[in-house]
């Protein structure tokens, strides 16, 4: 009896969550919509990072490169080519993917320490280039005055992305769709091969798997989705700042994934919510919120190696809820 009610709740949960996400912006003031958008974008950025880290074991300290490139590409398309969000997103993903292929080609030759240091180096290199290419990126000032596009589909009213509530739904749909695609990848043959490579590169290599090429594809896919997250940032902020390429931005998806739990698909999503909420709360009372983030991260690394989702899943009553974020074997 108890089991049946638990499984009933579990089956109902996704619908409840979906319903809450639909009603949310209508029920709350506009500010909460923008807060949620921040969470969505951060969640996608972290999900893309965790495809690399959680599933393939590549700890990159330079993931902002592809997030930033995605944001700048979308901004440049909107500003100079066409005021089309679809085109901006497509270009962002393509450019980030190609950039990740090029940088990944060098990085995936190395493992562990060397891989990490190379990603830091490429992160800084791209940042420095972005800083210098004032004509393209606007340098220190960033790119400002970006037109926010409208989407007009036949038979539907014009979708005005500059409206925060509208943009909430838009980014929710995009991020949810991207998450579904990432989920399919993680569950696929390729996803399991990545886990195998994470467990033992040597064994994978001697079973006939071209380890580097698999890791490169993974790295490039992570870059592609980071690029999409970057593109979503543009209409939301109306500008792109150089900070999107900075080392500290590369740190964010790492913090978020660890916080939520890297071995759970939805870990980074939960982590993103905590991250943004902590940031928002602390920023209201103190100037240096990263200090508190650092302390939270220390505590997570020391005491909650499975992240918040891993912690919650330990308790029986919550296990059914955590079931949707079920730990990957």
């Amino acid at each position: 009896m108890k089991d049946r009610s638990a499984s009933f709740v579990r089956r109902l949960l996704p619908f409840l969550a979906a319903g809450a996400l639909v009603v949310y912006p209508l029920a709350l003031p506009r500010f909460y919509s923008s807060l949620a958008i921040e969470i969505f974008i951060m969640a996608l950025f972290a999900l893309s990072f965790n495809l690399m880290f959680g599933y393939a074991g590549m700890l990159s300290f330079g993931h902002a490169v592809f997030y930033g490139i995605g944001a700048y590409t979308a901004a440049l398309v909107l500003k100079h080519a066409a005021e089309s969000m679809a085109l901006a997103i497509a270009c962002s993903m393509a450019v980030s993917f190609v950039a990740a292929l090029v940088i990944g080609f060098i990085c995936v030759r190395f493992t562990r320490t060397y891989f990490i240091m190379l990603t830091v180096a490429f992160g800084e290199l791209v940042y420095v280039i972005g800083h210098r290419l004032v004509g393209v990126t606007g340098g220190d000032d960033g790119l400002v005055g970006i037109p926010i596009p409208q989407i007009s589909l036949p038979g539907l009213p014009v979708i005005d992305l500059s409206n925060m509530r509208v943009y909430y739904y838009f980014s929710l749909v995009i991020v949810a769709a991207a998450a579904v695609v990432l989920r399919i990848i993680v569950k696929s043959r390729f996803g399991h091969v990545l886990r195998a490579i994470r467990d033992s590169q040597q064994r994978a290599l001697f079973l006939g798997l071209n380890v580097r090429r698999h890791l490169l594809l993974c790295y490039a896919l992570a870059g592609l989705f980071a690029g999409l997250a970057g593109a979503l940032l543009v209409p939301f902020e109306g500008m792109v700042s150089l900070e999107t390429l900075h080392f500290s931005t590369s740190g964010n998806p790492i913090i978020v994934s660890i916080l939520g739990g890297t071995q759970f698909f939805l870990g980074p999503v939960v982590g993103a919510a905590i991250f943004i909420l902590v940031k928002d709360t602390v920023q209201n009372v103190a100037e240096f919120w990263m200090l508190w983030m650092g302390i939270i991260l220390v505590a997570t690394v020391m005491f909650l190696p499975g992240g918040v989702v891993g912690f919650v899943a330990r308790f029986k009553p919550f296990r059914s809820a955590a079931g949707i974020a079920k730990k990957e074997e």
């Binding site: 700890l59 300290f61 060098i106 030759r109 190395f110 493992t111 562990r112 320490t113 060397y114 990490i116 240091m117 190379l118 830091v120 180096a121 490429f122 800084e124 290199l125 420095v128 280039i129 210098r132 080392f247 740190g251 790492i254 660890i258 100037e287 240096f288 919120w289 990263m290 200090l291 983030m293 650092g294 302390i295 991260l297 220390v298 690394v301 020391m302 190696p305």
Partner: protein, 285 residues
């Protein structure tokens, strides 16, 4: 002109060596890259500023600040890092990264975001004439300090009992603990000593460039480049890498001033492609 630039390069090199030698020593024994090394260096500069203001003497702060940095590192090692040695390296790295966030923001909260200048000690404010050009005495002091530290390190590692144990542990950790060396103790010593070296770096640089929030990030990237060029885990590799990078930067400013910021990365990536184990590295990693 060339000689002056060479000396400038040498002073940069010696500063980089102070950082990179600690980084490479810690990596050699603990097998983890100390992400917080740049932050500890920055902490060294700020401590130097505060002690100099408080005591009125730069020399006191030069002695005291690195010790404070070493104490901070000791706390991090003893209460946090040590508990993670049994876990994957990634966790140790993430912990050190967390401390980067904490130290960076804590210094901003405590000392503010503007640059803090430390006056040069009176005895070294002047300059010496070299081939008809004035060269600051203080920079010469830094140049002298590098080889001194290298020599001291060499003697400490080869001449003392604990130094030999550190070398043994860096070559083969399991064998070292199998023959009864106190490996956790060696870890602490190496981590704290490496931090002390970065503190010295911070204390030395404070009168030259002051203490500022971005300085840690700037130096850590350079130090990464140095240890990669020299070979991770090799002290002499770090010395060679520091010399190479210092001089390349010094002469780079003369020849290609616009591209100078890209040079360290270019060198680093080039070394990765041509000789990934570094100039004097044993390989692995």
């Amino acid at each position: 002109m060339i000689l002056i630039q060479f000396l400038n390069g040498l002073s940069t090199a010696m500063l980089l060596f102070l950082l990179a030698s600690g980084l490479t020593l810690i990596f050699g024994v603990l097998r983890v890259i100390n992400f917080a090394h740049g932050s500890l260096y920055m902490l060294g500069a700020y401590f130097t500023y505060s002690v100099a203001v408080f005591s009125g003497s730069y020399w006191v702060s030069l002695l005291a600040a690195p010790v404070f940095v070493a104490c901070a590192a000791g706390l991090i090692e003893r209460f946090f890092l040590r508990r993670l040695y049994v876990r994957e390296h990634e966790f140790q790295l993430l912990l050190l990264y967390s401390f980067v966030l904490i130290i960076d923001d804590a210094t901003k909260a405590f000392w503010g975001t503007s640059i803090r200048m430390v006056p040069k000690p009176a005895a070294l404010t002047g300059s010496i004439e070299i081939l008809g050009r004035a060269f600051p005495t203080y920079t010469l002091l830094i140049i002298g300090l590098g080889p001194l530290v290298a020599l001291a390190l060499f003697l400490a590692l080869n001449g003392t009992k604990i130094g030999r144990q550190v070398v043994a542990a860096s070559l083969d950790r399991e064998a070292a603990s199998a023959v009864g060396l106190n490996v956790p103790f060696l870890y602490s010593v190496v981590f704290v000593f490496g931090a002390w070296l970065s503190g010295v770096g911070g204390a030395v640089v404070a009168p030259l460039r002051g203490a500022s929030p971005g300085m840690g990030m700037e130096i850590i990237i350079m130090s990464f480049a140095v240890v990669i060029v020299g070979g991770l885990g090799s002290i002499w590799g770090a010395f060679l890498g520091a010399l190479l990078l210092g001089e390349v930067l010094a002469f780079g400013t003369l020849i290609v001033p616009n591209l100078i910021v890209l040079l360290p990365y270019a060198i680093m990536i080039l070394i990765f492609l041509v000789r990934p184990q570094g100039l004097l590295g044993r390989g692995g990693g």
